[in-house]
């Protein structure tokens, strides 16, 4: 095996620290997400870290692939600063409103366009939608094997893959061979910080923007039109409770809590 060509799928997402401020417009019923700062999806940084470590071990090249609007470029640059060699932004109005399957078709087309790719890595799930569908669906569309929720990964010089897939209590060990798509769990590694030299180097790294026509996709297969699922109404979950305030000194408060525990049947 002569070096690894790795694609890392990344997604700019609204900063999870700001999700509390997300509102639904009462008139239109549409999500108000303007002004929310975007970050690189946290799990994707773990995928990128895994890619960088593999390239340090085997040599090769790391290209980030993202389906996002053109203004996502700034967010994607953080990955270039971490050490990715190049970024491909798949951007087209026709991609808007895509569900995970329509998104995966675009990402798979981008990977095919890249040509030689031994390994595709992605964060197992995104912070915003959190479906965890994309790694498996990209694998299916590319017609190569795939695994997700991977916590440990080893690739030898003959392109054999050994991986651990997280289960509820423990893991399953799986063996296979490249090419493969792997969804990386956040437990796999600790992503590196960006350094000043990294940030400076990122300015000169190649960034390509590709649209529907560059990718040779049928407009009916992407975006909202190409999505088998369609969204309906949005609502806020109703979580509110009575909220009786307990007041007093610690001993008095503890006494009240003990009484509540008794009446709820957990303490005799």
């Amino acid at each position: 095996m002569k070096g690894l060509n790795i694609s890392v799928l990344v997604k700019p997402v609204p900063d999870p620290g700001c999700y509390e401020s997300i509102q639904i417009d009462p008139q239109t019923g549409i999500l108000v997400r303007e002004g929310l700062p975007n970050i690189l999806n946290p799990a994707d940084k773990h995928a990128l870290e895994a890619a960088l470590q593999l390239v340090e071990q085997h040599s090769g090249r790391v290209v980030m692939v993202s389906m996002a609007p053109p203004n996502a470029l700034e967010t994607v640059k953080e990955g270039l600063a971490m050490g990715a060699d190049e970024a491909w932004l798949l951007s087209d109005r026709a991609f808007a409103g895509a569900d995970t399957l329509a998104t995966s078709r675009v990402l798979a087309a981008g990977i095919k366009k890249l040509g030689l790719c031994d390994l595709v890595l992605a964060g197992s799930e995104s912070a915003d939608g959190g479906t965890a569908h994309v790694p498996s669906q990209v694998g299916e569309i590319l017609g190569i094997s795939h695994l997700t929720n991977v916590t440990w990964l080893n690739i030898d010089t003959d392109a054999n893959v050994r991986a651990r897939m997280k289960m509820e209590n423990g893991y399953i060990e799986v063996e296979g061979a490249l090419p493969m798509v792997i969804g990386v769990s956040r437990g796999m590694n600790v992503p590196r910080y960006t350094s000043l030299p990294g940030i400076l180097a990122a300015q000169d790294k190649p960034v390509k923007v590709l649209g529907l026509n560059n990718l040779g996709l049928d407009p009916g297969s992407v975006g909202l039109a190409g999505s088998p699922t369609q969204p309906g109404k949005l609502s806020r979950p109703e979580l509110k409770r009575q909220g009786e305030r307990l007041e007093g000194e610690p001993a008095e408060l503890a006494k009240r809590i003990v009484a509540i525990m008794r009446s709820s049947g957990v303490l005799s």
Binding site: L101, N149, M165, G170, I172, P228, P237
Partner: protein
């Protein structure tokens, strides 16, 4: 008369034991079948030497069971499981396919949906089935801040995953159902197996599993140290309960591990009593405890959002209240 709707539930088993989430989903399927008045619930079980397990499924709500018993299916692996299920789905054409969002279900469901070119809604918090067969799937987004309706208007089957702890199983001791034994050899070809699951390593975490505990003491960022965290552990121990945590506390390394994290990216729990300390009350945590019996929260900050979602609000320092509470509980028990 409208066509009879058919709802499939894919049963997950580990070492011949049915996963709790599969029975929960089967319970929900029964409810949907009743809603749609004219629907059939079918359980589909894959594995090796799992006959006894399949026999139990009618008691949990299955009108019919497809059983695929094959040594190659002993351990879950997406090539093998998706090949078998895809062929069965193409042959039987169910209207709805439901899968538990366990670690393996989270991989199996999107794999199958992509193979079938159909729609999949992830981590549904509720489902509704209309008499015309339209499934409304409610999914959380942005860590549970928003709930959206999802439909799959054209493609079939309509597919959804459901996290553990969201629905309740049903027990129907008298119920019987048809068990259909399928032939593994005609549903799975060796040539299409690209990955090999070599072994399952079970690492049973110590202590009471959080999804089974009657009492959960949960802590967040505000707990401040590993040392303070022990207070939560001692308190939980008094009830044979469990300690839960938020993502920030997990990231600090104070907690029992990821299996104790509660919320949209962790566990959904419904204890009789939940006591939260040092937790601000971000929606992505609160959605995981919303079905708890009693919610008590302790937070120094009188304006902490968690107080809006609690039955009892204690605006005080947990370092003052919890040691006193622990002492009083110990006295009460003697």
């Amino acid at each position: 008369m409208e066509k009879k709707q058919v709802i499939w539930v894919i049963i997950e088993q580990v070492q011949g034991k049915t996963a709790a989430v599969s029975l929960e989903v089967l319970g929900k399927a029964c409810q949907l079948a009743a809603e749609a008045a004219n629907a059939q619930v079918v359980a589909v079980a894959l594995g090796s030497a799992i006959g006894p397990l399949a026999q139990q499924l009618p008691k949990h709500g299955a009108d019919k069971v497809f059983l695929v018993d094959d040594p190659r299916l002993e351990l879950y692996q997406n090539d093998t499981y998706s090949s078998v299920l895809r062929r069965l789905i193409e042959r039987e054409r169910p209207d709805v396919v439901l899968i538990g969002a366990s670690a393996s279900g989270e991989e199996l469901a999107p794999t199958l949906a992509a193979q079938l070119g159909t729609g999949l809604a992830a981590h549904c918090t509720n489902l509704r089935l209309a008499a015309d067969g339209t499934l409304t799937m409610l999914v959380p987004a942005f860590g549970g801040q928003v709930i959206g309706e999802i439909f799959c208007p054209v493609q079939r089957p309509q597919m959804a995953t459901i996290k553990p702890g969201v629905f309740s199983p049903v027990g129907l001791a008298e119920r019987t159902g048809e068990i259909v034994q399928e032939d593994g050899a005609s549903l799975l070809y060796d040539a299409e197996i690209r990955l090999r699951a070599t072994r399952l390593v079970v690492e049973e975490p110590p202590g009471m599993p959080i999804e089974q505990a009657d009492v959960i003491v949960a802590g967040g960022w505000g707990i401040g140290s590993r040392e303070n965290w022990r207070l939560l552990e001692e308190l939980a121990k008094e009830f044979n309960g469990a300690v839960g945590c938020t993502r920030p506390a997990l990231d600090q390394g104070w907690t029992g591990g990821e299996h104790t994290m509660i919320g949209s990216s962790g566990k959904t729990v419904r204890p009789k009593l939940y006591l939260g300390a040092g937790i601000s009350g971000a929606a992505h945590h609160m959605v995981g405890i919303k079905d708890s019996g009693v919610i008590i929260s302790v937070n120094r900050d009188k304006t902490a959002p968690i107080f809006q979602f609690s039955d009892y609000c204690v605006a005080a320092d947990f370092r003052d209240v919890l040691p006193e509470l622990l002492a009083q509980i110990r006295r009460a028990k003697h």
